[in-house]
């Protein structure tokens, strides 16, 4: 660690790619940075989301020579990059020397390897004396990118600062390496399984849990199992809520007081936005669950034991809310983890239980296990 052991006091951090090198296509730079962040995300409770304007915790720039921080770069070779330990202002920022030849492979200087190293500094790690460590100060072009993994020294260092990723019996995997789990993981049928959020997406249903999601299509029997980051690299993990507005072909994803918009596998520009821009009161710090009724064009937001209703036509929160969940959805638990609409029913999820609610009859018609959708 750096002297004084500086570290972030929060676990959800923002980053911004301020500019790009001309050596690589933009999506290759985006991908390298996202992959580099994932390296650290997978061994800590830390999560990252990208912003496109304003001040992020980690500002990423490409620059040559003097670039405003009194630590000028030195042309090709020698110094490749530098980064600052956690803190406000320029602290946490990562700078890359654009006089280097940045590449996706190791024919030049591999951006992913250097970014993963520099972001280690951004999170509070100093250099390691272990040659195998990512945090060793000297660039090693012989690294096998296909088998890249953190050394135990890197993991020990970062977990000294932030601890291990949260583990619960419901977690589908305990990711210690960048290896996605096989589809059909047995944890899907854990009787205690709960979900973070559920949303429809173009006729499929996505069940979010931790860093992963199950993708359930009505065309196939077996649900698929994926890392969230493999579809949407800049989305945070352990999200709070998600819902689809089919008329906009957009899924909105909520975590804390922010929300993102995705269309297919594309992140939409201009996000994340604050949840209070939707008209929720400032006392609401996070959303537990949300869904949008296609027919009525109303979106329901659930937080603790209350809910609000948003009119998609007028794009405003309806008056007369919040209301108590138990009053208008009798039979449903007073607090919900996730909810989505299917075949005209509202499916509420609370812990390992699922409540199928008929909005016309205004009653719960079935109580099932949460993971019944995963063929369990």
């Amino acid at each position: 660690t750096f002297p004084g052991e500086p570290k972030w006091k929060k676990t959800h951090l923002t980053y911004r790619i301020v500019n790009y090198t001309k050596d690589l296509p933009r999506d290759a730079v985006d991908s390298a940075i996202e992959k580099a962040l994932t390296v650290w995300e997978e061994v800590t409770p830390l999560t990252f989301s990208r912003i496109y304007e304003g001040e992020a915790d980690i500002m990423i720039i490409f620059a040559v020579r003097e670039h405003g921080d009194f630590l000028p770069f030195d042309g090709p070779g020698k110094v490749l990059a530098h980064a600052y330990p956690p803190g406000s202002g320029f602290y946490g920022d990562a700078h890359f020397d654009d006089d280097e030849q940045w590449t996706k492979d190791t024919s030049g200087i591999n951006l992913f390897l250097v970014a993963a190293h520099e972001l280690g500094h951004s999170l509070g790690l100093q250099h390691s004396t272990e040659r195998e460590a990512l945090m060793y100060p000297v660039y090693d072009p012989r690294t096998d990118l296909t088998r890249f993994r953190l050394s135990q020294d890197d993991v020990d260092g970062i977990q000294f600062l932030y601890g291990s990723p949260p583990v619960s019996p419901n977690d589908p995997v305990v990711p210690t390496e960048s290896v996605p789990p096989e589809p059909g993981t047995p944890a899907a049928c854990d009787p205690a399984l709960s979900f973070d959020a559920i949303s429809t997406l173009r006729g499929e249903i996505l069940f979010f849990k931790g860093r992963h999601f199950w993708r359930k299509s009505f065309r196939t029997f077996e649900p698929e199992f994926h890392l969230i980051s493999s579809f949407w690299p800049s989305l945070p993990s352990r999200i709070d809520a998600a819902y689809e507005v089919t008329s906009k072909d957009t899924v909105f994803i909520f975590k804390g007081n922010q929300f993102w918009a995705i269309r297919g596998n594309e992140m939409q520009a201009g996000y994340p936005r604050g949840i209070h821009t939707l008209g929720l009161p400032s006392t609401v710090r996070k959303i537990d669950a949300a869904f949008s009724d296609k027919e009525k064009k109303k979106t329901y937001f659930f937080a603790e034991d209350k809910y609000w209703r948003f009119d998609e036509k007028t794009q405003s929160m309806e008056p007369g809310f919040p209301k108590q969940i138990v009053e208008d959805f009798p039979g449903v638990e007073p607090e919900v983890d996730a909810v989505f609409e299917v075949f005209g029913f509202y499916c509420f999820f609370s812990g390992s239980s699922q409540f199928e609610f008929d909005p016309n009859a205004k009653k719960v018609t079935h109580v099932l296990k949460s993971n019944s959708w995963l063929n369990c």
Binding site: F2, P3, L71, F73, G77, K78, V79, L80, A81, H82, A83, Y84, P85, E100, I109, V114, H117, E118, H121, Q126, H127, T129, E130, R131, P137, V138, Y139
Partner: protein, 84 residues
């Protein structure tokens, strides 16, 4: 300035090593100290510190392995001392 090529190369190497120790191992920025007293104990100590940190054989001398590592591209953050 040295007129022959070998001496010039040696001079460049000394400068490189000095900058390396100044930048990454907190060697006091005193040019004369290093060029004229490269066998002085503070300099030898810094070379040893560098060799130990980088996992090299600790000789206190600028052997070929040490020089090879010094010439490799690297991160610009100092290995030891305060980052300011």
């Amino acid at each position: 300035y040295p007129l022959d090529r070998a001496a010039r190369a040696n001079e460049d190497t000394m400068e490189l090593v000095q900058q390396y120790l100044e930048n990454y191992y907190n060697l006091a920025k005193d040019t004369k100290q290093f060029v004229r007293r490269k066998d002085s104990s503070p300099v030898v100590q810094k070379i040893q510190e560098m060799q130990k940190f980088l996992g090299l054989e600790v000789t206190g001398k600028l052997d070929s392995d040490t020089l090879e590592v010094i010439r490799k591209p690297r991160c610009g953050i100092p290995d030891v001392g305060f980052f300011s």
